[in-house]
């Protein structure tokens, strides 16, 4: 796929079209609303690039446009996550900065950032982040700053970054059990359930719940915890439990 250079308003419009398809509703305008003329220009630019087509005055994405839009959305929401989770920006700042940031994110860098953030599945506003190649390959070799509890190994420690779940009751429960953002966490074991120290207490959760708890990792255990027990190279054949598909 050739790299297409789009102007900022055109990228904005592309993302807006995606969001409209995704939710069947309009996307929250983050900037001052574009003027009709700006919008018309952006629409023309998309149409020329073959990303959108107009019929009955309705602008809709083409197949190629959909691919392009998906990538724009992905970068935008990853940028939001990065700013919110790693740089700890407040809600207002995130929206403003993510908007500028996203345009600077080149293709390929998004996968690195995605890995760094532990392959998040939703943006801070609760909208889904389209998965990239890195998520499908499960590239977890690179160190992550933010990681789902489910992807951590015993001995890792850090603090809770955020919880992501649509189940209100569960969210409430987890919060009241002490899993609030900022609480220090140390993973004790990961099988058969995830057990971790949480603040002063200890909790156990299943894998599904562990996938909803994201942690800002501050220290990971040294990779070979028991040197000498296994001959070099043999570790590849060891049973690795709990790797997500």
């Amino acid at each position: 796929m050739p790299d297409i250079e789009l102007s900022e308003p055109a990228e904005e419009l592309l993302a807006a079209l995606w969001a409209a398809e995704e939710e069947g509703g309009e996307r929250a305008e983050r900037h001052s609303a574009p003027t009709d003329q700006e919008r018309a220009e952006a629409a023309r630019e998309l149409a020329e690039a073959g990303l959108a087509q107009e019929s009955d005055g309705e602008l809709s994405l083409t197949e190629q446009g959909r691919r392009e839009a998906r990538s724009v959305i992905r970068r935008e929401r990853l940028a939001e996550r990065l700013l919110a989770d790693v740089l700890n920006l407040g809600e207002g700042q995130v929206a403003e900065a993510a908007c500028r940031f996203e345009h600077c994110l080149q293709r390929g860098i998004d996968d690195r950032i995605c890995t760094l953030l532990g392959h998040p599945r939703i943006c801070p506003h609760g909208r889904p982040i389209p998965p990239g190649d890195c998520c499908r390959e499960g590239a977890r070799a690179a160190p992550s700053v933010i990681s789902a509890l489910a992807d951590l190994t015993p001995g890792c420690s850090g603090a809770i970054a955020y919880l992501q779940t649509k189940r209100r009751d569960m969210l409430q429960r987890l919060l009241s059990m002490g899993a609030t953002p900022g609480t220090p966490v140390r993973v004790v074991q990961t099988f058969p359930s995830f057990v971790c120290h949480l603040g002063q207490g200890q909790i156990a959760v299943d894998r599904e719940t562990a996938q909803d708890i994201y942690i800002r990792v501050s220290s990971t255990p040294p990779p070979a915890r028991r040197p000498g027990l296994w001959p070099r190279g043999l570790h590849r054949f060891r049973f690795r439990r709990g790797r997500p598909r």
Binding site: G178, P181, S193, V195, A204, D206
Partner: protein, 680 residues
């Protein structure tokens, strides 16, 4: 009418009518007293029940496991001039209920209109506990905070300043340790003193939420037991129970309120519970930072720590479980309970002493055999009903409750829950369900009640079904272990079949029942050495509950059988059962065991014990009988609780499924074992 009568009765009991009492100092009926209605509220596992016991001197079940108070405990005690009416709620994490027991607690809080709500909190986890305090204050209730378990907090190096916290929150705060009795006097003085005025402390929420709260508050017209601010916040969090209340009191306003809620939701990316909870957390963080000092923690006893680690690791944990099962169930319940205790009580006490004495006495008093048969003889009230209850069932259940209380008090059960969670997911349950399942090995009736701690209806249904079908109660278990202990092969076949049925039917139920799979998340308390006082209190409280349930039913069953006998219905039913029993390869005498099983599950097992003792059943038929009796329909008491908790139709459907299934499995097992000529 009924309410009026109850109120009158309440006033009579509490002496509000100014009725002179009996004059003694202890008697609740004594002269006009100042009545204080106090509700204990708080998260699970913070020692509410222990506080309740300390204040009342009565014993409810206290345990090192979240969620054991499923029913509300009430107690009344006289302190000086004040009559204290205490009410202990099931544990709740928040005012927005997410399970049935939390709903019970919340409704109680709304309806009780207590003079004082004491929030019992765990001092170690103060930061997590405070949001609930803030919610109670927000609700406009007269609140006091009890920081419990301060002794353990001190061991962890945490020191709380109750006065500072009290000043910041504007409510009375006391520090206690229910286990050691520390601070209880201060708490007693607080609950009997003048009730505090509601605090003015408020949590600031994001502006959009504050605006919505104000708008909803203006829309509410009716009188509510809690503040409008709290109601508005609950509605914004989509609390269905509260919405129903508003629908009942302010039906005209609801559409407008719903609109405000929807509008506000649209302004936030998450459900509103998130920003609301986070705002409270931030306030709690500030408050706890001001009131807490963290010193270097005293070194924890490393043995408990090491054992705590070991019990949650898969291999060591399973080994540990095997040891617990072997010692707890086989040695203590099987050998000690069924062997030593039952032998002694049944043969020495009843066989040699009570039965001959009562028989002689009754026969002299009632010369008519038909009437004498009501009390003595094969199905007599004393020789059968009382003997089964006191000599066979009570020792078994008692010993089991003792073992269970020991396990509970150490904090082992949550560890077991996290070990079996994966397995339980396959049968549609979460690890949390281990509590009702293990308790079911003691008494399925009590366990059916405890399924309330499970969060989804689907999970409660499956758990109720499995308890009714495949979990033998301790009376059955004791008899079975006692009878089969000489036949290891028979015991293995029985255990294999019952476990197989448990897993298979659970698996099928999970596949067939629609609904989302249960999630598992649980606090793991530290392992503690069980306290003799707690264990004794728990065992006694459960036994008392059991005694009140079981003895009347046993006696009633004797009367029913007697009536059945003299009217001939019993004989007819037996005649009807004989072919079924015969098809299983069992002797005719086993038919009454099944008939008795309708009346009480354990009754049936106890009957087989008699039949076996008479040498009329052994080998394959014995194993088949044991399996069928185990799977067989639940006893009357359990059936009643099933109807109450799950509804009549569901309960009947379960029985209709279980009955043919139990006999079917028995028939197949008999066929297989006899065809293969298995020697047992």
């Amino acid at each position: 009418m009924a309410v009026g009568a109850r109120q009158l009765l309440g006033r009579l009991l509490t002496g509000r009518l100014g009725r002179p009492g009996c004059g003694c100092d202890q008697c609740p009926l004594a002269a006009p007293a100042d009545v204080r209605r106090v509700t204990l509220f708080g998260s699970p596992n913070v020692g509410k029940s222990a506080i309740f016991n300390q204040l009342t001197g009565a014993y409810t079940v206290v345990s090192n496991y979240p969620g054991t108070t499923v029913e509300v405990a009430r107690g009344r005690v006289r302190v000086g001039d004040v009559l204290l009416e205490l009410c202990d709620c099931p544990g709740s994490y928040s005012l927005v209920p997410s399970s049935e027991d939390e709903r019970v607690a919340r409704d109680l809080l709304l309806e009780e209109q207590a003079d004082l709500v004491v929030h019992v909190a765990d001092a170690i986890h103060l930061r997590r506990m405070l949001p609930l305090t803030l919610q109670l204050i927000e609700a406009g209730l007269p609140v006091a905070l009890d920081l419990n378990i301060v002794d353990e907090a001190a061991r962890a190096g945490l020191h709380v300043d109750p006065d500072r916290l009290g000043r910041d929150l504007g409510i009375p705060v006391v520090a206690t340790s229910a286990a050691t009795g520390l601070g209880i006097d201060r708490l007693r003085a607080l609950v009997t003193g003048r009730p505090p005025t509601p605090s003015a402390f408020t949590v600031g929420y994001p502006p959009d939420i504050e605006e919505a709260v104000a708008r909803i508050g203006d829309l509410l017209r009716a009188d509510y037991p809690i503040s409008r601010r709290a109601i508005a916040l609950l509605l914004l969090q989509r609390d269905e129970g509260m919405r129903q209340r508003v629908l009942a009191s302010d039906p005209g306003q609801l559409p407008e309120i719903d609109r405000v809620v929807a509008e506000t939701e649209a302004r936030f990316p998450h459900p509103l519970a998130v920003p609301i909870t986070l705002a409270r957390q931030r306030a709690a963080e500030r408050l706890s930072r001001a009131a807490l000092t963290q010193a270097a923690p005293a070194p924890r006893p490393s043995l408990a720590e090491a054992l705590g680690r070991l019990t949650v690791q898969p291999a060591a944990g399973l080994l540990f479980l095997a040891v617990v099962l072997y010692v707890g169930l086989y040695l203590i319940v099987g050998k000690l309970g069924a062997g030593v205790l039952v032998d002694f009580l049944d043969e020495r006490v009843f066989g040699d002493l009570v039965n001959p004495a009562v028989t002689g006495f009754v026969e002299r008093l009632l010369p008519w055999p038909t009437w004498a048969a009501l009390f003595v003889g094969e199905y007599g009230l004393v020789t059968l009903g009382l003997r089964y209850a006191v000599a066979i069932v009570l020792p078994l259940v008692g010993v089991f409750f003792l073992v269970f209380a020991l396990l509970e008090d150490t904090g082992y059960l949550p560890r077991l829950a996290l070990l079996v969670d994966r397995l339980f997911k396959r049968i549609g349950l979460s690890g949390r369900a281990v509590i009702p399942m293990v308790l079911g090995l003691g008494c399925d009736t009590m366990a059916t009640l405890v399924t309330r701690v499970l969060e989804t209806r689907r999970e409660r249904l499956i758990a109720t079904f499995l308890l009714a079908l495949a979990i033998p109660c301790s009376a059955q278990l004791g008899v079975i272990l006692g009878l089969l202990s000489g036949h290891p092969a028979g015991l293995a076949i029985w255990a294999g079949v019952v476990l197989g049925v448990f897993l298979l039917s659970g698996y099928l139920a999970a596949r067939l029942l629609p609904g989302e799979a249960a999630r598992f998340y649980l606090e793991i308390p530290p392992l503690r050495l069980p306290s003799a006082r707690n264990v004794a209190a728990k065992t006694l409280a459960r036994l008392r509950w059991y005694g009140a349930e079981v003895i009347p039913l046993f006696l009633l069953a004797s009367v029913v059988i007697w009536v059945g006998q003299i009217s001939g219905i019993f004989g007819l039913a037996l005649a009807g059962l004989r072919p079924v029993v015969g098809a299983l390869g069992l002797p005719d005498a086993a038919a009454d065991a099944f008939l008795f099983g309708f009346l009480r599950r354990d009754y049936g097992a106890a009957r087989i014990f008699d039949v076996h003792a008479a040498g009329r059943v052994s080998g394959i038929p014995l194993v088949v009988a044991m399996v069928t009796i185990t799977l067989f329909i639940p006893c009357v008491a359990q059936l009643l609780i099933m109807v109450r908790e799950r509804g009549l139709r569901t309960a009947l459907a379960m029985v209709a499924l279980i009955l043919p299934f139990a006999f079917g499995v028995g028939w197949v097992l008999n066929f297989v074992l006899t065809t293969l000529r298995v020697q047992i």
